[in-house]
C-alpha cells in the first residue's frame, strides 16, 4: 500500500516536472518566434522605407505622365498594405509571447464604434457601400486602440466583400453581462482568388489580419467567431466581459471560431 502511494507520488512529481518543462519550451518557442517576427518586421519596414522614398521622389516630378502617376498610387497603397501586414505579424508574435501590454481602461462602446465607422466610411464610400452603426450605451473595460483595430479590420474586410449598394453594420450591445460587438456584411458568395484552392496573396494578408484580430480578442478573454446570416452575408462577433474578467463567452453559440472561416481552413468567406 505504502509503496503504491510512493509510486503514485513519484509519478505525479514526474508529470509535474514534465509539464513544467513543456511550458518552459512553449514560452521559449513563443519568445523566439516573437524575436524572429520583430526582426523580420524591422527589415521589411526598412526596405519599404526605401521603396516609399523612391516612389515619393518620382511622384514629385511635375512632368510625370498622369498614367504613371496613377501607377505610383497603386505602389504606395501596396507599400502601406505590406507595412500593415508586417505590423500585424509582429503584433501576433508579441501577443502570443505575452510581451504586448494591453492597457485597459473603461471606454464607451459608442465612442469605439464611432472611431471605427470614421476609419472605414471613406473606403466604403469609394465602393458604394453604406456603413451603419447600432450601439447601446455601455462602458467596456478594454484596450481601446486594440478593440478599434479589431473592428476596423473586420469592417474593412466586410466592406471589401459587400457588393455596391450593400450595407455593413457595426453593432455593440450588452448580452449576458458582456459587451457584444459584431460586424455584419451582405457578401453574396465566397471569393475564389485561386481556382486551385490555394490561398492568394490577398487571402494570406487577410489571414494575418484575422489572426491579429483573434489574438487581440483572446487577450481580452473573448473569442472571435463568425456565422452565416440567414438573408446572406456574414457576421463576425466577439464579446468582452463588462467586469473585466477573462471568461470567454459564446462557447455554446452555433457558430464557427473565426480562424476556421479562413480559406486555408476550407471556407472562403473573404478572409
Amino acid at each position: 500500500m505504502r509503496s503504491r502511494q510512493a509510486r503514485s507520488c513519484r509519478e505525479r512529481a514526474a508529470a509535474h516536472a514534465r509539464r513544467e518543462r513543456l511550458e518552459a519550451d512553449v514560452r521559449r518557442a513563443a519568445g523566439a518566434r516573437e524575436a524572429l517576427l520583430s526582426s523580420v518586421a524591422h527589415d521589411v519596414r526598412a526596405q519599404l522605407a526605401a521603396v516609399t522614398m523612391v516612389v515619393s521622389s518620382i511622384a514629385r516630378d511635375e512632368a510625370l505622365p498622369e498614367a504613371h502617376r496613377r501607377k505610383l498610387v497603386f505602389l504606395q497603397r501596396a507599400a502601406k498594405r505590406i507595412e500593415r501586414l508586417v505590423d500585424d505579424l509582429r503584433e501576433v508574435g508579441q501577443l502570443e509571447a505575452g510581451t504586448l501590454a494591453l492597457e485597459r481602461a473603461l471606454e464607451g462602446a459608442s465612442s469605439i464604434v464611432d472611431d471605427v465607422v470614421g476609419l472605414i466610411r471613406p473606403i466604403a464610400a469609394e465602393r458604394g457601400v453604406v456603413v451603419v452603426a447600432s450601439v447601446s450605451d455601455l462602458t467596456v473595460p478594454c484596450a481601446r486602440d486594440r478593440i478599434v483595430k479589431v473592428l476596423e479590420r473586420l469592417g474593412s474586410s466586410a466592406v471589401g466583400a459587400t457588393p455596391r449598394g450593400g450595407t455593413v453594420r457595426i453593432r455593440a450591445e450588452p448580452r449576458g453581462g458582456r459587451a457584444w460587438f459584431a460586424v455584419e456584411d451582405e457578401r453574396l458568395s465566397a471569393p475564389m482568388s485561386d481556382p486551385s484552392g490555394a490561398p492568394g496573396v490577398a487571402d494570406t494578408a487577410r489571414g494575418v489580419e484575422l489572426a491579429v484580430a483573434e489574438a487581440i480578442v483572446d487577450a481580452h478573454g473573448g473569442t472571435l467567431r463568425s456565422e452565416r446570416l440567414g438573408a446572406g452575408g456574414l457576421r463576425f462577433y466577439f464579446d468582452v466581459a463588462l467586469d473585466g474578467s477573462s471568461h470567454a463567452a459564446g462557447q455554446d453559440a452555433p457558430a464557427t471560431r473565426a480562424s476556421s472561416a479562413h480559406p486555408r481552413c476550407g471556407r472562403r468567406d473573404g478572409w
Binding site: A41, D43, A49, M53, V54, S56, R60, E83
Partner: protein, 149 residues
C-alpha cells in the same frame, strides 16, 4: 529633379547652404534622400554607419569638415546605433538638432530619443515630404537659436 530649391529660412539668419549629416546603412534610402536634400538646397555629408557618423562629427568639431546644421541618424546601424551617436553628442558643447529615423515601431524609442535631446523621431516607412519638412524645421530652429545668442 528640376531646379535646385533653397529651403525657406528667416532672412539674414543663414547665408550659406545648410549642411545635413546623414547616417543610414540602407544605401538606396540614403542615396534617394541625399539626392532630394541636395535638390532642395542642402549640402549633404552622408555615411553608412554610426562609427563613421561619429568620425564625421569629430572632424566637424575640429574644423576639418563643415559643421552640420542638422544631423539625421538611422537608429539601427552597424557600429554605433543612432541612439549611441546621440548619446555621445550629449557631451558636445554645441549640439546640432538631430532627427532620428527608425523602422522599429516602438514608442519607447521616441521617449528615449527625446530624453536624450533629439529634435524629432521619424518612423520608417516615411514620406519624403515628411523628412524634408522635419529637416527644414530643424534648420530653422538652429537658426533661431543662433540668432538669440
Amino acid at each position: 529633379m528640376g531646379e535646385v530649391q533653397q529651403p525657406e529660412r528667416e532672412s539674414g539668419v543663414i547665408d550659406r547652404r545648410p549642411t545635413v549629416f546623414l547616417a543610414d546603412d540602407d544605401d538606396l534610402f540614403r542615396a534617394v534622400l541625399k539626392d532630394e536634400l541636395i535638390a532642395h538646397g542642402y549640402a549633404v555629408e552622408d555615411v553608412s554607419d554610426g562609427a563613421q557618423a561619429l568620425e564625421l562629427l569629430a572632424m566637424a568639431a575640429d574644423g576639418l569638415a563643415a559643421s552640420p546644421d542638422v544631423v539625421v541618424l538611422d537608429v539601427r546601424m552597424p557600429g554605433y546605433s543612432g541612439l549611441g551617436v546621440l548619446n555621445v553628442m550629449r557631451r558636445f558643447a554645441k549640439r546640432p538638432p538631430t532627427l532620428l529615423l527608425t523602422a522599429v515601431p516602438d514608442p519607447s524609442i521616441d521617449v528615449l530619443a527625446r530624453t536624450m535631446g533629439a529634435f524629432g523621431v521619424l518612423h520608417k516607412p516615411v514620406e519624403l515630404d515628411e523628412v524634408l519638412d522635419a529637416v527644414e524645421e530643424a534648420v530653422l530652429s538652429k537658426a533661431r537659436r543662433s540668432s538669440r545668442v
